[in-house]
């Protein structure tokens, strides 16, 4: 079975392709965009495509044009069990298959794609959060340093003051620290 993964997100496409390698005897290729000649040469049995790829509409038109085409292309979710379509759409995946392929085989491909999409999203979320946490810790440290210098507090006292400011304003401590640094900059004439 030949599977083509079309995804403008190359890292995610790689993850999906890697996940599929292990599933069953199949040949997997990935592309950032749909290319008719490439697709014709590879003749995939299944095309897995990201919902955020604009090429979905081109695939829809092949499905339309294949009324008189022996390698009819159908959208898998059309004839699958209820719930799967919704699951795939919400996961951001669509699949087009050549008519006649056993649904169970397609299902396993789609399952891998969906889980890898979810994994990518989770990894990206974790990374963004880690970056934000690190950034906010740096800002808190600088704000503590500022309070220690300007108010003659020790580190613990500076942190407690920041925490109190945050609680009084109902804002995260990182954002109070950022405000403090910004105001200090203005007072010193840094910002214009």
């Amino acid at each position: 079975m030949r599977v083509l993964v079309i995804d403008p997100d190359s890292a995610r496409a790689a993850l999906v392709a890697e996940g599929l390698e292990g599933v069953q005897p199949l040949e997997v290729r990935r592309a950032a965009a749909f290319d008719e000649r490439e697709v014709a040469a590879f003749a995939p049995d299944v095309v897995v495509i990201a919902a955020d790829s604009p090429d979905r509409d081109t695939l829809e038109s092949l499905r339309e044009a294949s009324q008189n085409n022996p390698r009819a292309v159908v959208m898998f979710v059309d004839r699958s069990e209820p719930g799967l379509a919704e699951q795939a759409v919400r996961a951001g995946v669509a699949a087009y298959v050549v008519d006649g392929l056993a649904p169970a085989r397609v299902r396993s491909v789609l399952d891998v794609a969906m889980s890898r999409f979810a994994l990518t999203q989770q990894l990206r979320g974790d990374l963004a959060k880690a970056k934000a946490d690190l950034e906010s810790r740096k800002i808190i440290d600088r704000a503590k340093g500022l309070l220690m210098k300007e108010r003659g507090l020790d580190e613990d006292g500076a942190y407690r003051l920041l925490r109190k400011l945050a609680m009084d304003r109902g804002k995260p401590i990182g954002s109070v620290a950022a405000d403090l640094l910004a105001f200090a900059g203005v007072l010193k004439g840094d910002a214009s």
Binding site: A51, D57, S61, A85
Partner: protein, 383 residues
């Protein structure tokens, strides 16, 4: 608290998504008690699928897509309770192709209604020379753009399935594909024709307003099931969208509208290109542009029959009446007070002959005869 559910509405980066973007930015949704998030989508297929599974509550949609959604599966039936715009699209060809056509017939190229005539001559000449067929792009099989392009080609005697190659290309990629030479021309909505013209890559041969004055384009689409479960939200959304369409038509608001659409999270195109279609082409509200007209639905269905997308046995009237819901538009519009000439609310009550550029009359009471009466068509026959 309005007691209304929060909504997520989808759109494609095109000028005619304006009523959704304006209703959100100008606070019309909020004034109707709706908390709305807009979701920019990459393809019409994804818009359709997300609306069907409920990941979107409603969306900016190709009118024929809403009509076709429930044909194979009644559970997927959609409603079009509001037309988002009239006109705004155009047929553009590459600067190179335009120069060749001008060489063949400079007079025809100066008259938009007959620009396809020199194209027919060129197609014939290329065939004799054994040159590859020209490629034209449109945005989706079920779209005004596909039907307009096919109508225009066929009217000049060019068979859109045999004499040229038609491909589907997403709107934001049209200009790039014209530049690379992958396609020779396209039919797409604003602002992408103007973008090609501004960049010196293409020339507009005919605009939608010339091809079919007052012709339909996008609708606001929801599933029939959603409309049944959320009548309050639907009415509030329609009221906000109608107010937004009124606002968007106002020339005094165009500078603000252009700035809004130019933002990368909306259309993300050059302001000058966005301003072009707003100046003279696209209509959101006036002339009852928001009314989902039964005769428009029947014209779309006639083209689906003509090009073999549906069987001629399909009950066209039943589909048109199930999907197009002028009653919902009227109810929402009337509740807003004098946003329309009262007579306009019932503009479709007595269907008038709606003529396209070639003068062939379209009588919506004889849609099937019209669909099957074209010399070039793919009407399906047999079992």
């Amino acid at each position: 608290m309005s007691g209304l559910a929060d909504l997520t509405l989808g759109f494609i980066p095109l000028t005619d998504c304006a009523p959704l973007v304006v209703a959100k930015a100008q606070g019309f949704f909020a004034e109707e008690g709706l908390e709305v998030s807009l979701s920019r989508e990459a393809s019409w297929a994804t818009i359709r699928d997300k609306v069907l599974v409920g990941a979107l509550d409603g969306a900016h949609m190709l009118a024929p897509m809403a009509l076709a959604a429930g044909l194979n599966d009644p559970r997927a039936a959609m409603l079009a309770p509001l037309a988002l715009n009239q006109n705004g699209s155009a047929i553009t060809v590459s600067a190179r192709l335009a120069a060749q056509l001008r060489e063949i017939d400079p007079e025809a190229m100066a008259a938009p209604l007959i620009t396809a005539a020199p194209l027919a001559k060129l197609v014939e000449r290329r065939r004799e020379q054994g040159a590859p067929t020209l490629t034209f792009a449109m945005v989706f099989p079920q779209s005004m753009h596909n039907y307009a392009l096919r109508y225009w080609l066929a009217e000049a005697g060019i068979d859109p399935d045999q004499d040229v190659r038609l491909v589907v290309t997403p709107p934001p990629r049209m200009v790039e594909h014209l530049r690379s030479g992958e396609i020779d021309g396209f039919c797409v909505g604003a602002p992408w024709n103007a973008v090609a013209v501004e960049e010196g890559l293409g020339e507009m041969l005919i605009k939608a307003s010339q091809l079919w004055p007052g012709g339909p384009d996008k609708v606001f689409g929801v599933t029939a099931g959603w409309a049944e479960r959320h009548p309050g939200e639907l009415r509030a959304a329609l009221r906000a969208l109608i107010r937004a369409a009124t606002w968007a038509d106002e020339p005094g608001n165009h500078a603000e509208l252009v700035a809004l659409l130019a933002r990368p999270e909306h259309v993300g195109a050059e302001p000058e290109a966005l301003a072009r279609a707003l100046r003279s082409e696209i209509v959101f509200h006036r002339d009852a542009a928001g009314l989902p007209r039964r005769e428009h639905a029947l014209w779309f269905l006639s083209q689906m029959v003509r090009w073999g997308q549906v069987r001629p046995e399909l009950d066209l009237d039943a589909v048109a009446d199930a999907v197009y819901r002028p009653d919902l538009f009227r109810e929402a519009a009337a509740s807003l007070g004098p946003v329309l000439e009262p007579a306009m609310l019932f503009a479709d009550a007595a269907p008038t002959g709606s003529d396209l550029f070639d003068g062939t009359p379209f009588d919506s009471t004889k849609a099937l005869a019209y669909a099957t009466g074209f010399p070039i068509s793919r009407v399906r026959t047999g079992a």
